[in-house]
Structure formats: structure tokens, C-alpha cells
Symmetry: C4
Subunit: 220 residues, 4 copies
């Protein structure tokens, strides 16, 4: 009897191989990112089209493109956070597995809520739904990191407190921005989704500040 | 002549490398989970939309969301079962390969039957189709485990009977719930798909009971 | 400077790592299989639906389901052939890489031609397009095997002639069936796509006959 | 505490494991290639269809097919370039990671712009959008290679200047062709997308010329 690709018996008793969770996650992230483009539809009923009509139609689709860019980069940022967490996590237990599945459930909803906010960019309710979707998704990633690092039971015990804290800071950026967006949307302000444009700046500040203060990089 | 990534000659004669089956399966599972969201469509013909109209439309889409959640978590549960089985299975033969392909065929149909039951939640026929889809899919995963563990010919002979039995119990949960749902649907009861809400509870009981009784975990 | 996952320098000079080609192929195969279900659409304009109307609509969709099953299993059979070929192929050169990409181009077209033949099962032209699509795809996989095994320049030189011949026989099944289907379609016979129902039988005969004659299994 | 699949601590401090970036990229590339077919839609409202009507409809879809072929092969060529780059790149830093994500954002847009140019092949504006999409995508891959090879900080220092230069030449082909296409489109010439038909020829010349001049192959 020959074994192929089987992890050691000892590992099986403690945790769950993380590589297939990563593989499922990568697929779902990649699909969600690519499915966003489905929301940007070329109207099929443009019979008797003229170049002018096509131009004006494309101009009307501008909010779709803005939200495509925002949503793609937000999902990418969540993927980077997820990636960095699993880089440090050594094995997954039952709870972590289902937390990941739960967060993927909301990742897979992002194309829908992006479509909604891209079609109705001026209705605060649609922005609210988009921001709520991102709040739940990113909060689950935040909780996942808290859970995995609590007593260091799923990570390497040698990882320093500063690295754990930096992970929490990073994972908190999108939840906080989403909460701000939700407040703006509830106040009736349109285009509240533009708060996410601050994300790259905040990530950069955390990154540079962390480098300066800690003299170390977290993951990359 | 240099070999890359080639499994040993001996293995080739006995079984089929399982890693590409896992990779195809992960993709199909991930895709089926993400495609579910396609069933939740933002109506494109909402010209002259008002916030009120959008709100009422979203409220009408509630059954879509309920079934999105149920279907996503059921596919995830099937993926976990599939994952745990392949964790113990050491190689695949011709029969197992085609049993897996057969079950993936029905996994890929779940977005369709979810769309159907999400659009017509009160028609028992639609619930029946959804539940039949899940019954066939999950029964195939159950049979797969029976086949692989019969005489232990595709698993490690050292695996105990209790672990094999626990695998059968887990794999039987969704077929049993589907059968109950089908009976309810045939009795004309609407929303019979809600039987699946008992799944997490049953999985938890099996998990905790198994821990207590066997003093061991199965897979993770 | 630390190297991660880099194949040996020698290999780089001769061939192209095959694992990422496999990974791209698995994804495209999995998507094509899952996208088939998109062709089975629940009519969205079923306002004022009645259980009776839903039932009759589902009955009308029967050809869609038949073609979903045929197409899913055909793509799966092509994937198994592709899988078995790459199991024996040790590295890929420029030509093999582009032959694979060419065949994937036609794999990705199968959901379209399946949709076409599912919608118009009685029009021989649609069956012709479906069968032509499969003829080209499977012929490319056949040529790929011929190319890789010619002078054994991309496979292990120790592989016997009988194994190479068995690979050719298997890879020829779908091209031959497609050619038969095309002849039937050109003769104006509807439902010519049902010729593919003979595929499992033929594969089984080749498999069993090979076992008996050669006393060896090819790949699995 | 047992570690599974964790890269060495040293590596973590310098760079980011490249295998999950490859896995996400493969998925997005594969998905973009498969989604192209979604743009080729079978008209659903062909009630009272006749074989003649189906034939004429399929003839009208010819530009869709032409652009499907062009776009599929262009995405495949970009994937090959990406693949060859990551074959030589040993680790990824923060900048490279986000350059890759940026290029994937535009890869995922290609199904949209292909759909647009397939539907309106004679409107130069649509060709312009398609070519601009490809210009940006391919230019990002070009810049990525320049960045990774600058001072050889992300590649093996032993890689020769000629190999780096050959990589730049290859990566420049699609940007240059796109720029030519854009000029033609701005001059109001329809079907400017056909410039991409020169791509295989140019790649072949670079490949053969490189072999002759350098006596070495680059990657494969």
C-alpha cells in the first residue's frame, strides 16, 4: 500500500491541512473578482446603434466602472489579508474552517452588491448594502485572526506580539472604513462608497509606520 | 531526460494521482458556490426607479438570499466531507474517479436548482427538485466513502473501524435531511427546504458525541 | 538570495514546468463544466406563474438537461485523457504548450455549443456545430499525444509501445464518435448528439480489452 | 506544535511566497478566458425559429467568434509571459504583488471589452477600448518585468542580461501592437483589432532569432 500526498498521521489528529482551504479560497476570491465584470453589461438591445449612442451608453456606465475598480481592489486587499493570515497560521481547526467558509460566503456576495451600487450609485440604500457586505466580510477576517492568535494556539508560538498586533491593525482598516461609509449612507449622502479610496493611503501609513517603529516587516 | 513532478512508477500501476482530482474538485466546488450569486439578479429594467421601488424589489428578493445562504453552506458542507474523505483516501482507481466526476456533475447543477427554488419558494415541485439534487449529490459522496473503505482497498489499512463509521455518519446527514425534505415537498408543504437548517446542529452532535465516545477526532 | 519553488536550472533550459499548465487547464476544464449550467436558464418572466406552468416549462427544458449531462461527461472524459497524458509527459515544450492552449480554446467553447444544441435539439445544424466543436477539441488532444510520444521526446523513454498505442486508442474515441455524429447531422437526422452515449461502452471495452491483452493498466 | 507547508522563517522576512499569487493568477486568467464565451450569446427569443433563421443568426455572430479567438489567444499569450516571468522571479515584494493585482484587474476586464468589440466590430471607439484594455494590461506586465529585474533584486543574480533583454522584447510585443491598433482606431479605420493577428509571427521571429543569436532558450 503506497501513500501519496498524505500528511503525517500526527498532523491529522491535531489539525486540518490548510492547503486545500487555501486552494478553495483562492478560487472563490478569483471568481468573485472576475464575476464583478458581469455586472458591467453591454446592452444587447442596441439595435440601430450609432457611434453617438454607443458613446453615451458607455458614459452612463461610468459608475459601473468606478465600482468595478473599488470592488476589485477591496477583494484583492481582503485576499492579501487572508493570504498573510494563512501564511502565519500553521493548521486549521473546525472553528477556523467554518469562519473561513463564512467569510467566503460574503466574499461571493460582493459581485451582487457591487452590481447593485453600480446600477444605482445615488441611492444610499444600495451603498449601505455594499458597505454592510464589506463590513461583515472584513470583520470575519478580523475575528479569524483574533481567534487564530488567541493563546497562539493555531500559529507559531515564536511569533511576536507586535506582529500579531500589526495583523489586527491591517485587518481593522476595511471594517472601520465600511462603518464610516454606512454612517454616511444612513445620513443620506450619495456616493458614500468613495470612502474606500482612503484604504490604500491607510494601508501605506500602517506599512511605513510599522517598518519605522518595529524595524521589521510583517509577512512581506 | 529529466523528470518533473512525476509520481513513482509503482504508484502509476496501482492508482491515479489524487491531487489533480482534488484540484478539479476544488475549482468546481468554488465555482458552484460563487455562481449561486448569479441567481440573485438585480432587475435591469428598473427604469424610472425610486428608492421605494428598489427597497420593495430587494424585499421581494429575500427568498433568493435565504436559499443562497442554505445552498452555499450545503455545498461547503459537501466540500468538507469530500475533503475529509480524500484526506484519508490514498489513491483513486477508475471507479472512484468516475464516482467523483458523477458527484461533481450534480454539484454543478446546484446553482440551477437553487435559482429555481429561490424564484418559486412556495411551489413544492421546485423544492422537490432542489432536494432531489442534494440527495443525489450527497448520496454519491456517501457511496464513494463506502466504496473507498470497503476492504480498506483505497485507504490506509491502519485506519480504525470507528473512523470509517464516523465518516459514514457524517456523509449520511445530508441524504437523510434531503429525504425528509422530499417527503414534506411531496406532501405539498411549502418552504420544505428549511429542513436543512437542522444540518449544523446534527453535525455538531455527531462531532461532540464522537469526541466523547471515541476520544478521538476524525480528520480534524 | 533565497530561492522558493524554483525548478532546477537544468530543467529550465530544456522544458517548461508542467504544473502551471495543469493548473490553468484544471481551472478551464472546471469552469467549462460548471458554465454548462448557465445554458439551463430559469425563465425570469414567469409572472403569474402557476405550478402547472412551472411543470410544463421544466418539461420543455428536458433537452437542455440531456445535453448538460452529455456535455459534462464528455468534458470530463477529455479532462481524464488530458490528465493521463500529462501524467506521462515529463515536460512541455513551446509546441506542446500552444497545442494545449489551442485545445483549451475549444474546451471553453463547449458551453456555447451545448447551449445551442440544447435550445434547438431538432435542428441538425446545431448538432453539427456541437459535434464539430468536440471533433476539433478531441482531435487536438489526440495530436498532442502523438506529438509528445513521437520519438518519446517529451515522455519517459522507458514507456512501452503498448502504453503509447493504448493512449492513442483512448484519444481517438471522441474524434471518431464526433465524425459519425457529423455524418448523421449532415444527413439531416435530428438528435445525432446521442451517438456520444456509446462513449462509456467503448471506453470500457478498450479498458477491459487492454487489461486482458496487455496484462497492464495504462495510468490507472 | 507542528508546522504544515510553512515557508522558512528567513524567507518570510524578505519576500512573499509566490505560489499563492500564481494560483490566484491562474484562476483569474482561466476564468477570463472562459468568460469570453459568455459574450457569444444564443438569442433566447428565437421563438418560431427556422433552420434558415438559426443559420443567419449564426452568420451574424461571426465577429463575436473572430474576437473570441483573438482575445482568448491574447490572454493566453499574456499568461505565458506572466508564467515565464514568475518562473524566473524568486519572491514577490509588496510592490510586485500590487502590480500583479493591478494587471489582473485589467485581465478580468478583457471579457467585457471583447464583448463590446464583438458586438460593434465596425465602431472604432469599441476597438479603441479593447486595444486600450490590452495596452494597459500588457504594459503592466512589461513594467513588472522591468521592476523585478532592476538590479536583479527579485530574480536570481546569475540570470544573464540577454535573458532579461529577451524577456523585455517578448513583453513589449502586445503593448506595441495595441498602440498601432489604437492609432488605426483613432484614424477611424474599422476592424483595427486585426493587427493582433501579427502577434504569433512576431513572437516566432523573436523566438527563432533569440535561439540563433544567443544559442539559448529563455524559459522554454
Amino acid at each position: 500500500m503506497i501513500k501519496i500526498n498524505t500528511e503525517s498521521e500526527t498532523v491529522k489528529q491535531i489539525g486540518f491541512g490548510k492547503n486545500r482551504i487555501e486552494s478553495l479560497s483562492d478560487c472563490i476570491f478569483a471568481f468573485a473578482m472576475t464575476l464583478l465584470v458581469i455586472g458591467i453589461e453591454v446592452p444587447q438591445d442596441m439595435n440601430g446603434f450609432t457611434p453617438l449612442l454607443v458613446t453615451s451608453t458607455l458614459r452612463e456606465m461610468l459608475p459601473d466602472f468606478v465600482h468595478y475598480f473599488i470592488a476589485f481592489l477591496l477583494i484583492a486587499a481582503l485576499w492579501v489579508i487572508h493570504h498573510m493570515q494563512f501564511h502565519k497560521i500553521h493548521y486549521a481547526d473546525h472553528n477556523l474552517l467554518w469562519m473561513t467558509i463564512g467569510s467566503l460566503l460574503f466574499v461571493a456576495l460582493i459581485p451582487f452588491s457591487t452590481d447593485l451600487v453600480g446600477d444605482f450609485p445615488t441611492i444610499p440604500l444600495c451603498a449601505f448594502i455594499f458597505e454592510l457586505n464589506l463590513l461583515i466580510t472584513s470583520a470575519l477576517f478580523y475575528l479569524q485572526w483574533r481567534y487564530a492568535t488567541a493563546n497562539r494556539h493555531l500559529i507559531d508560538p515564536a511569533i511576536s506580539d507586535r506582529v500579531i498586533r500589526a495583523g489586527k491593525q491591517r485587518a481593522a482598516v476595511i471594517p472601520v472604513l465600511s462603518a464610516v461609509g454606512i454612517v454616511l449612507a444612513m445620513a443620506g449622502i450619495p456616493w458614500s462608497t468613495l470612502v474606500y479610496l482612503f484604504a490604500p493611503l491607510i494601508f501605506l501609513v500602517i506599512h511605513l509606520y510599522g517598518h519605522k517603529l518595529r524595524g521589521e516587516s510583517w509577512g512581506f
